[in-house]
Symmetry: C2
Subunit: 393 residues, 2 copies
Amino acid sequence: MLNFSFHLPTQFEFGTGAERKAGEMIARFGGKRALVHYGGGSAVRSGLLARVLESLDAAGIAHVELGGVMPNPRDELVYQGIQMVRDQQLDFILAIGGGSSIDSGKAIAAGALYDGDFWDFFCGKALPETALPLGCILTIAAAGSESSNSCVITQASTQQKRGLNVELNRPRFALMNPELTYTLPAYQTAAGATDIMAHVMERYFSNEPESDVTDRLCEAILCSVVKAAPIAIENPNDYDSHAQLMWASTIAHNNTCGVGRVFDGASHKIEHELSGIYDVAHGAGLAVVFPAWLRWQLTHHEPSKLVQFAVRVWGCDIDLGHPERCAMQGIERYEAFLRSIGMPLTLRELGIENPDIQRIADGTRRNPGTDVCGFFTPMDTAAIVELLQIANG
Amino acid sequence: MLNFSFHLPTQFEFGTGAERKAGEMIARFGGKRALVHYGGGSAVRSGLLARVLESLDAAGIAHVELGGVMPNPRDELVYQGIQMVRDQQLDFILAIGGGSSIDSGKAIAAGALYDGDFWDFFCGKALPETALPLGCILTIAAAGSESSNSCVITQASTQQKRGLNVELNRPRFALMNPELTYTLPAYQTAAGATDIMAHVMERYFSNEPESDVTDRLCEAILCSVVKAAPIAIENPNDYDSHAQLMWASTIAHNNTCGVGRVFDGASHKIEHELSGIYDVAHGAGLAVVFPAWLRWQLTHHEPSKLVQFAVRVWGCDIDLGHPERCAMQGIERYEAFLRSIGMPLTLRELGIENPDIQRIADGTRRNPGTDVCGFFTPMDTAAIVELLQIANG
């Protein structure tokens, strides 16, 4: 177990009606003039935005709206938000939505207090030293951005999707009402579940030999998602399964499951390149990349951790004589699960007919910090090409 | 799953040498003059105190020492600490030790800023509105006080051991070096492991039907403790097993394992009465009370949660026709585990030859907030007497 620092400052308000606390919470964290940042029209149509603005009005919080965040959020809207914050002297960002809205809000929060171009933070030129406070109202269980230190933005002109992981990114509060996820299409719930599992697995597959507590916390979240996701998809109005997914999404990516070891991150980096270029849903991209990553690892890494994954998460029988068979059975059950919830497993099923594999691999390696891509077995460009060939079916 | 608020502000610095960050961390949280509060001579003899004071000196933090905290910490030293804070205008409490030192420090931190008698907080007369900031250096994995909202103090004159659970109690930082637990006697390591498990089980046995994520997190911690404790006891200098116990102690009691449902608390309340009167080690007292609580529950509560505990934590086989047999097997394995690490299972083994069962039961019910004692099956005075008779062997 490696030495670690861990600090999770986000205040969680979880349950029915949580969104109505928005005004009170912004006031508690010193906000007076908020940028309310959200995605498409669903927040408007569902009445959520109106409820939130009412809560802000009741608390005396002035507000300006900036909607239109797209999946794989783009830099253009971040620039627009930064300008609005400066022009109208806003002092708080309230993001409504999933990872896209929250990440876009995080980039605005850091960029608004920076003299240079906010993209400097995402291409490795600079690190933010301060940021506006940000709170969020979560509407999809997936990215874990509601309490993570992560933020991922795509530069439209170059199709580069890049991440910034700094403690300043953690929201001050997260309002989490599972009912807000009832109206999501099944595909998005499934992609969210896939993303949650991937966040855990990026931490689980580590070469640190002894971090049993963290291992078991990872397995706990994986088992819960495997149980809850099909129920939530079958029963869009089932509170409990949606509540499990929502809380799992948070724990999966705020590093409760990662302390004491390194985040592998290879699958996420490869998927970011994929969705930067082809604009696919992040979770669906991970459903293609992560099984391929596991299959590639099985031929390059001794199998004991893959065996533990197979036995503890997927209920596979131990096979002392052929541990690699047990490990492969775990991968196959993971794939069967992903397929059962409607996820693609190949690039073609993801809608990418003629993937430019070399471009994806090269682009992944140009991502700042990917002189080594991953840590479980580090991947060079040729290895990423091999992985993508597996993913190409 | 019940609605919940969850906020864990404690900053964790975990690993070798963590105690050397004390000065830097106090400065970060605005402290300039610290009360350094610790227990017996072991912190002095081991050189820990000297290292910590050196770190404070290097950071320019003035300091005053108050040692002598005893297990089941008493009100006298709290009064003394409050007086020292006031006389010497101290602005930060640094507790070194386990739950006793940290709890004593928490009581000083809240009491120093209160005009009345600090015991008002513990007998239900008042709630603290503010408290001095407190940080801690942990030397035993047990109480979880390093990030919990709990604080338990014994009033010497009445032998009343009472708790105060408020968010103000959470430490600002916890410095956690597993090596500091190497020198503990095996009995204390075992009592600590028992306490950790009890903190999880108080949350696990809940009537909330659907909180699968939290259930599995509980099971994860329980399984890790069952694995690590015997290794740590056999191998006092084994870093990894001590690290698992230390991190488990934190997660077990900071409510990561409890969100979305109620803390039962009956076993802790009964044990507090027991150790208030007979001054036994808290963890050892729980080793006597908790199995008896489970046995009592098995005859008063439908067995499904006890079955889940038996199957998932203790590897018992499901018995659809006789679930109560499966549940009982789980309890027996828990008892066998406790015995294997050297814990007592009866009041006599705990050293209490002629327990005044009625006094313990009556005293438990006089504890503020125990008009109902526990929630899984609430216990009245007669029920507590029955439990203690089970514990009496």
